[in-house]
Symmetry: C2
Subunit: 306 residues, 2 copies
């Protein structure tokens, strides 16, 4: 049995996870491997060793190009890949890859992250989500929402360029408030409560301009017995999502948003968006690998299909 012909090793290297996919000459996945060896888990800059441990057999036996996106290009990563200013698309990214050597004469090309500056001089940054969006076939004029620890809202221009974007700390705030804060003390975890979630979303949507007050409702609703202890986690989650959605759409309310990411989180956001009167669709799976393939094509690392 001969191995199928491969063309690209596509690496998604985030804060907490490392995933490598072997792609054939049409960009289809032959094999994928993953470990929890994210950027934060790599000690003493041993990024090459971490990658070889996961897929050294692919790298040593084949002459495939290597591309990576995500936090591997951050200051805490293998090598800092300078940010691209928005608006930016995959052509600009392909022209600004950062090279590191996995082995002598075996380069890995790191996709740059994006930065965008708001009119009042405040910056925002992303690393990894841009590549995911370039693989998601987003229509010009659409808004893409990527749930997570640091949720991203991105406005898409011509040819899938990212025109501007904004980060919301929704996931991190939920984690901090429930695991380390006073709100968590009244909570019982592990049960889902669609009713409490919906009440929370409505409150967050109504009072997004009073955010650091309204999250305290996840304590008072417990104290006053309005939301049972097992409903309080979903109540807080709803409040934070409501705040995020109303904030991100405060100047212009979209009719629809494209959700890109984890199934469970996307379902929750779809429900919250519905309560805000905003429709949502789901991007197809495999966007990250597809985006990496497209950047590699644009950079000439793999042959373009005829």
């Amino acid at each position: 049995m001969t191995s199928p012909a491969s063309a690209l090793i596509a690496i998604d290297w985030g804060t907490s996870n490392l995933r490598a996919s072997l792609l054939d000459a049409s960009g289809a996945e032959i094999e994928t491997r993953a470990t929890p060896g994210g950027v934060m888990a790599v000690k003493n800059g041993a990024f090459g060793e971490a990658l070889l441990a996961l897929c050294g057999d692919w790298i040593e036996r084949r002459a495939d190009a290597l591309i990576a996106s995500g936090m591997v290009g951050s200051r805490q990563g293998w090598k800092e890949a300078a940010y691209l200013d928005c608006p930016a698309g995959l052509a600009e990214a392909a022209a600004q890859l950062t090279r590191v050597d996995v082995l002598p004469d075996v380069p890995l090309h790191i996709v740059p992250g994006l930065t965008c500056r708001s009119p009042d001089g405040e910056d925002d940054v992303m690393r990894g989500e841009e590549t995911q969006m370039w693989g998601a076939d987003l229509a010009p004029g659409s808004i893409c929402m990527l749930p997570g620890t640091h949720a991203k809202w991105a406005w898409i221009g011509e040819a899938g360029q990212v025109t501007r974007f904004a980060t919301y700390m929704t996931g991190e705030l939920y984690g901090l408030l429930t695991q380390h804060g006073i709100l968590g003390r009244l909570m019982t975890f592990g049960q889902s409560s669609p009713e409490a979630f919906e009440a929370g979303v409505r409150l967050g949507l109504e009072q997004h301009d009073n955010a650091t007050h309204v999250i305290f409702a996840a304590r008072t609703a417990g104290l006053m017995g309005r939301v049972p202890a097992e409903g309080l986690p979903d109540y807080l989650s709803g409040i934070l999502m409501g705040i995020e959605i109303a904030s991100a759409t405060r100047t212009e309310r979209p009719r629809a948003v494209v959700l890109l990411g984890d199934d469970g989180l996307c379902s929750r956001y779809a429900k919250a968006l519905e309560l805000a009167g905003i429709a949502s669709t789901r991007a197809a799976d495999g966007a990250t690998t597809r985006g990496q393939w497209r950047v590699a094509q644009a950079a000439g690392l793999v042959e373009r299909q005829p």
Copy 2:
């Protein structure tokens, strides 16, 4: 040498601290003692023992009345003291004291906390701050702001009644984000940076309706080198205070606010309020003990002055 005649033992028993003051028949402090033995530090409900350890000599040798305010009246405290609904003043509080026995026939009277309900059915709560405000000689129509882990904004009516109030989780959020979150990773602590603080306040004031996004600026400003690592703690503190001030005053902008609390925090809020175009004054020291004295008078626990 004889001890001066005492009349009241006034106890301020919060989450983290326990403080007892011995007051004479005019309400003046004879002596004050404090320990870090707050409500959270008391094990197995041993509140009586904790109080006797601090000032058992006062309690056993004298026939003074005892009054307490703060988290000692919470569900995690000695005994839950039912909340009073706003509007509420010290006359209403004096009529609803909760009794526990320190020793047989030695009662301690716990001042109730306050609750207020917003038009959309959301509750808010306070315990301790109400008594502090009743000792602060607040004018009808004034707004009182009490900085802290859970900062309070209170609107004052006739005879010092608290008409309504709102909690802002500013202090807790600062602690969580800097001690347990990603924002703290870029920060160098221990230096003050008035410039970064001011820039943060301005950003928070401008984007209070985008709160869970704009706190992320305390990361990006560090990544982009716009704020040095040692300025980032004050930058975040300013952003959170700016969000709080603009949120609390979003429906009606006051000309002035009375600050009540810790000197350092009140100075920071005074500066932030100034940047928001709101004047501030400081309430006199000793408000908690004075408030407890006044509630005790209204309840007939001590004689009223002629």
